[in-house]
């Protein structure tokens, strides 16, 4: 754990979770995982992560609802949220950004290494460039 910063991944696809966990661990990043929205909200409150990577298609609450809930809660509203989804149409991206997300990443368009690069930039406070762009 070279880096004290905490990243919360809300993602239901088991294999992807394993992939990202492996990559983030290799890179020395602290990644915690929630498999659905409700769980994710709970963990966000409890763990106070520095960044949340949020999928949209989730069982139960979808990503947009989770985003709304995060932004509505005083405790979590200042946590940076990046949407990490395979939905990539303009309306979908716009809905996410209007809901308060700081950036939007499309899974199919970035490799795990590119994702890590983006995350590092965000954690270093240079996240603006990632907004709406692929990694």
């Amino acid at each position: 754990m070279a880096d004290a910063k905490k990243i919360l991944l809300i993602e239901d696809e088991q294999i992807l979770v394993e992939l990202y966990q492996m990559k983030f661990e290799n890179e020395g990043l602290n990644l915690i995982v929630a498999m659905d929205g409700e769980d994710g909200l709970m963990m966000a409150k409890k763990e106070k992560p520095d960044l949340i990577l949020l999928d949209i298609v989730l069982p139960g609450m979808n990503g947009y609802q989770v985003l709304d809930a995060l932004k509505a809660d005083k405790e979590t509203k200042n946590i940076k949220v990046y949407i990490l989804s395979n939905l990539g149409q303009k309306e979908e991206i716009d809905q996410g950004l209007e809901g308060g997300a700081d950036g939007y990443l499309i899974k199919a368009n970035i490799t795990p290494s590119q994702l890590v690069d983006s995350v590092r930039k965000v954690l270093d406070g240079q996240g603006a460039g990632v907004k709406k762009r692929r990694g």
Partner: protein, 722 residues
Amino acid sequence: MDLINTSIAISAGINLMMGILVLFKGKRKIINQIFSLFALSVVTWSISMMLYRSAATVGDSIFWCKTLYVSPIFIVSFLICFAYLFPESSDKIKKYIYVIVFGSGISLSGLVLFTDMIIKSVEFAPGQEKKIIFGSLYYSIYTLFISGYFLWLYYILFRKLRRSSGIVRQQIIYIFSGILLGSIAGMLTNLTLPTLGNFSLNWAGQISSLVMVLLTSYAIVRLHLMDIRFVLRRYSVYLASLITILIPAIFLKYLLSLSFGRQSILIDFVVLVLSISIFSSVKDYYYRIANKYFFSSLYDAREVIADLSEKLKATLEVKMIYAFVSGTLVNVLHIKTMTVLIWNEKTREYEAAFDTGHERKERYSFTEEPGFYTEVIKHNRVIITDESKEKFGERYGRTIALLKKYDIHVLVPLLVKDKTIGLLALGPKESGDMYNHEDVQVLEIVGAQTAIALENALLYKETKDFNVTLEKEVKRATAELKAANVKLKELDAAKSEFISIASHQLRTPLSIIKGYISMMIEGNFGRLTDKKRDALEKVFLSNERLIRLVENLLNISRIESGKLQYDFEEMRLDELVRDVMDELSGTATGKGLSIDAELPAEALPPVGADEEKLRQVVMNLIDNAIKYTTKGRIAVSLKRAGDEIEFCVSDSGMGIRPEDLPNLFKKFSRGAGTSLVHTEGTGLGLFVAKKVIDAHSGKIWAESKGAGRGAKFCFKLPILKN
């Protein structure tokens, strides 16, 4: 023959003519026959007077004197029968009345003719009318009989007058006044004065009988009687005007003859011209005064029409028109009942649309009696029931009976062009007076006004109703369209959702493959041999192409539904091209192709573009060049051309046949033969590229010298203006 006898002869002649005229007007009618007998009695009376007056001996005088006193018995007897029968023979006289009237009449006649109890003798008085010496029963029986029978006659007429209305009433008024004038004059001169010993006006009764006969026959023969008030008004005005002119004229003539003496013809002429020229204005003046002060109960026709006209102008409501018209007519003419009947084309009946005055609110209607409407209604502007009864009663009994049943005295057809759209049915007047000439004139005009107003209102109503129907239709159609639209929107939303989910489902495994392969290539799973790395890179690139294919499919579906949205931003094409080159150079070199970029040294001006979409276009074009080239080189260039930035990618590949060039940018179109070489190509890339470039107001095209001779794909985008 003296002047008096001449006058008597003339009046007797006229009376005789009247008797004959009335008889010819209705030979078979008992009432006409009785009238003729009455006239004959009057003639006999007159002739007796003439002969009595001219008789030279006492014997002759006594004989004619007796016939002179028998005639009035028959005059009054026939008049009583006439009064009972009038206006129609349908009023049967009870037989005992005949017996009483003629029984007593004949008995009295016998007394007059064959005894000297009534007429005793005649006394000649030189230079004067003869004197009649009456018998003992004259004063009691004869005078009582005559005056009594006349009183009976008045009573009958008075009763009839009270019960009658309309034209019959007017007729009775004429008859009654004629009889009253004639009989009073006759009784005064021939009964009262002789009784008092005065025989000087003996002859006047015969002449005054003319009034009685003339008025009575006029009442029988003429149907369209004048209102006596109008006659009175007209003649009093004429008389007053005449007197007003005549007195100054005579005075003037007198004055002029004093100063000019003999030239009287010239003076007469001057006075005549003067009198005639001012007569008309004097008459008008008297008319105005008469109308103002003496006949104020009579309405002013012009004012009534103008007033109604104003009211009718102000409305297009059918019911208001009914109310205005009947209100006006009822007020002005004092009508008891009034109905507006409107023609119903479906039932072919005139139906009561508005009614006032009828106590029982039964709705009545007229079915069309063949002929009546075409013959009578169409040719008359105002139909007086009594007249029609006389003229058409036999032919159109059913209609006449209906008119009688509903107590309709006047029908005013509402004619529009050739169509009778309705009828105004007027009941009797409150006073029972008949509809006079002026009423008829007013009704003609009111009928025409009403017809036009109603026609307009009915047309307006029709249009309004049609508009309402139309509105309903439009509403219904709109509702249907709305429902259809909602359904389409639902379908569209379903389709979008499906594509979204499908692309998501496809991308998830693709991103997992991408993730693992990239990590393997990066050495996260341990060092790889060059061979393994090479194999994994090929897997990675193929996976990348699949990801692009999904993206293109998604875009096409969006383009088709018109839902592909663009997010135009200021951007630099050179950066984008460099990025794509970096990404794809591996693929090219993997195939043993050289790939060169010819980019300007200085930064190019920015364009307004959707970066993501434009990246796909550049990616598609370079990827195609790599795909369709087996050996040689690929050259990418970017330059400024005037106000535009031009991007081109050329290759030394399989080229394009000229006939394929026009179809390249169409959906699912590929150059012939390409499918055999490159199965993964779908042709979707060029289609999407054209759509995107079009949306950026740019131009995309392809060049090739032919099959096997390489190809060049280019697009141009306008430089962003400040």
